[in-house]
Symmetry: C2
Subunit: 191 residues, 2 copies
DNA sequence: CGGTCAAAACTGACCCGTCAGTATTGTAAA
DNA sequence: TTTACAATACTGACGGGTCAGTTTTGACCG
């Protein structure tokens, strides 16, 4: 007897991620996904309810992975400043390690008009927001709108990855974002 | 009646923008666009080569509009600081005035014909980059990667509009972004 | 071990609804 | 009468999803 094979699921996932990252949703053919994953088309429907479900899973899995890493390494014994730095570096590292995820998110939209903003995404934003709030509470910094700043972080990474100079390196990106958060465009700072 | 009616073209454009902003590309029916625009389906094909061409035009027109407004109001007699502030405020205002554009941009680079959109975007980024470089040249601030910072600006606006708290107001968003650029999360500044 | 079998996984040809795009018709204005 | 276009009918490709048939797996038994 075969159990739904986790290996196979991941093979499909990995393959699909590449395709969905390359072209928009409506240009991805499930026949192509199946072929590329060396799997029968029907098999896709064993692991995923529909094309949309497959797509959503890709993003969900990715976001959950980041979440896991974050909640594992951002502990409360860190100073707010260290927590923010770690958060940003970790997310940037992740973006470089999984070049497809941020491309995928391009089309993360309300399918069917439902305002079904992926719960996973909300969770991630919530996590970042907590980091920001903690810093504000402890007077490490001030932020009139932590929730806004929270969405900024993935937004910055996304725009850099998608539209930034292609030769920009991981460290440079993280440094630039941190710089922005620490003292904006100001020459130097003491902090 | 004349053939190339600019009014009609804009009616189609405005209507289509709403629909494309509401649902993903593949869920928009040209029958619906035509009906909503009170225009015959065939008429769409007088003004646009294809569904994709229509979509592309929406974004292209939008980006060009921003560009025009920017290049008109950001003159070299402004101090770098003022230029940056104006740039950001103008873009935020535009985003609020055209709530659909940034939703549309979700998939700006996902089409076969994406290349035709890139020049417009590049132009916009290039413009912002110049503003940033001018500030750096004149010692108003420092920026190791102006090109990166340039893509940050639309990225920040986009993420706020798409994923930020829905009740955030225009001024608050612009202020928050400016704050970030001026002194990051630091409490206060003199600048 | 080897054989038997059931259950589940897998496959891919095929079905069938859906639209993008086109052609036709009706009509109102000029 | 002619022009322009809304309305509407039409069509054909296309691709998501299905399912009858095939293969694989592992449990149980002698």
């Amino acid at each position: 007897m075969q159990r739904p094979d986790e290996k196979k699921r991941q093979k499909i996932t990995a393959t699909a991620a590449k395709l969905f990252a390359t072209r928009p949703f409506h240009e991805v053919r499930l026949d192509d996904v199946a072929a590329a994953a060396q799997v029968g088309k029907g098999t896709l429907y064993i692991y995923f309810k529909s094309k949309e479900d497959l797509y959503r899973s890709l993003i969900h899995d990715g976001v959950m992975q980041i979440m896991e890493q974050l909640s594992q390494s951002i502990t409360n014994d860190l100073s707010p400043g260290d927590a923010l730095e770690k958060t940003i570096r970790l997310m940037v590292t992740f973006a470089y390690a999984h070049p497809y995820l941020f491309e995928l998110m391009r089309a993360i939209d309300s399918f069917k008009g439902r305002e079904s903003l992926l719960p996973a995404r909300r969770q991630l934003i919530g996590f970042i927001e907590q980091v920001l709030r903690r810093g504000a509470d402890q007077q490490s910094w001030t932020d009139p709108h932590p929730q806004l700043t929270a969405v900024f972080i993935p937004g910055l990474i996304r725009s850099a990855i998608l539209y930034g100079p292609k030769d920009i390196k991981e460290k440079a990106l993280a440094d630039q974002i941190l710089r922005l958060f620490r003292h904006g465009l100001q020459k130097e700072t003491f902090r």
